[in-house]
Symmetry: C7
Amino acid sequence: MKLRPLHDRVIIKRLEAETKSAGGIVIPDSATEKPVRGEVIAAGAGKILEDGKVRPIAVKAGDKVLFGKYSGTEVKIDGEELLVMREEDLLAVIEA
Amino acid sequence: MKLRPLHDRVIIKRLEAETKSAGGIVIPDSATEKPVRGEVIAAGAGKILEDGKVRPIAVKAGDKVLFGKYSGTEVKIDGEELLVMREEDLLAVIEA
Amino acid sequence: MKLRPLHDRVIIKRLEAETKSAGGIVIPDSATEKPVRGEVIAAGAGKILEDGKVRPIAVKAGDKVLFGKYSGTEVKIDGEELLVMREEDLLAVIEA
Amino acid sequence: MKLRPLHDRVIIKRLEAETKSAGGIVIPDSATEKPVRGEVIAAGAGKILEDGKVRPIAVKAGDKVLFGKYSGTEVKIDGEELLVMREEDLLAVIEA
Amino acid sequence: MKLRPLHDRVIIKRLEAETKSAGGIVIPDSATEKPVRGEVIAAGAGKILEDGKVRPIAVKAGDKVLFGKYSGTEVKIDGEELLVMREEDLLAVIEA
Amino acid sequence: MKLRPLHDRVIIKRLEAETKSAGGIVIPDSATEKPVRGEVIAAGAGKILEDGKVRPIAVKAGDKVLFGKYSGTEVKIDGEELLVMREEDLLAVIEA
Amino acid sequence: MKLRPLHDRVIIKRLEAETKSAGGIVIPDSATEKPVRGEVIAAGAGKILEDGKVRPIAVKAGDKVLFGKYSGTEVKIDGEELLVMREEDLLAVIEA
């Protein structure tokens, strides 16, 4: 099943979080930590502005992103849990 | 009875959800899963902008769409349950 | 008593709802069903936009419309129950 | 005491409501009926728009109007109960 | 101490209310009556609009005005109780 | 430590309030009186408008101002209690 | 892990607060003091305005800033606690 998000919405797949301490010890995210990482699966064409022009979305499929834990709507597609949220809800792109 | 939605509203018929697990086993949506799928029955002419122009709706009759479980107003027309919601409430188009 | 709604308001008279099942059996709307049908009795001249222009209302007297159960303000005029609501609160026009 | 309402405000004097049934029997409004009728005593010069222009008010002194029961602020002027509300709160003009 | 209100704010001194019944009997405002009268002590230069222009305030020092009982912020200046509110909160000018 | 407020924010130092009654008797502000006086320590460059222009702030360092008791965010800088608030929260300039 | 904040968001690392009294005695911030200091780790390209132009952010990486205690979303990146917030939530730049 293929999804095409509308306007300024993006579809995100959560990523398992694995963080390293300063000393290099791997510390998995605890269940109580709120922000989450994800990969953009699909992005809409952009937000339609008041004058009718479209403002493209600043992320694209494949980008790793950071967002708040309670952002977006959960959808289950082909047995897979995905998130649909607005570009507005994305906090940052993880570049490396 | 034929309905013509006003402005940026769309009329949706819910679709029975049937999902497959990664291994191909069919898993019906449980009643507790929030997002829903539907088919667009009719779409309005579009949202009227502040300058009087009309911004057409990005979906059309026949499109399969994804929306949040609590979106829209339920209406019963000719014994059939339909949903009237704004284009704004649609999350994505299901393309295949 | 004749009412002229102001700006983007419309006056609606509720219509008794009668729906047919797929097999043709008439099922009256139960009291618990929220959306309602009505006939437009009068419509305002339209919404005044920020630049002073008037955006005409998309319905006219005689149109059958669909609206949410809790929309509008109830008024009793000449012993008759009417509803005054904004064009914004109308969901769809019933065309046949 | 003479009042000049500011901008888009109007001063209203409530009117005793008297309604007739379809058969001509006079039925006084019960205390529990929410909308009310009134006469416009004075109207402001109009709403000042963002570009500095003034949008005149669509009613004038002497007009009979319909409004929601809880609209406006009650003021007692020279022993008389009046209502000050915005043009926005007026539902319709009673024309006959 | 002299106060210069900023932008669209006005400084008001409450006026003792004294109302006459239709028959000429003086009836002092009871403590439970909500709207209040006052005299404008000072008015700001006006509201700054989005394009940078200033929209002058429609009242000036010396004007008698009507406002809602809970409008504005109470300030005590030189032992005198004053009110600072926005022009928006003023209902009407008392002209005589 | 020197602070440069951003955009339309101002930094305020509360002033001890001392008021005189009409007869000249000094009455200190009681703890229950809400509005407060202060001195502007620093003011931002101004609010950035939608078109990118900057609207300068109407007060400057050294100005005595009046504001609501609960306005702003308290900050402790070099052991000194200061307030950071928006120009919007300032009620009036105390001129003498 | 490198983060690129989107649009008008900034990434902040909290700074240990150490304040001096007027007499030079060092007073550490108590846990109950709300505002906080931080260093900007990264800043987005700026807020996209309605006309599509970008308004650059007024702070840059390395700037010391002041913000409210409850501003922003906490994120844990490589074992380090960071804050992602909007430029709007920044109160002032600490210049010395």
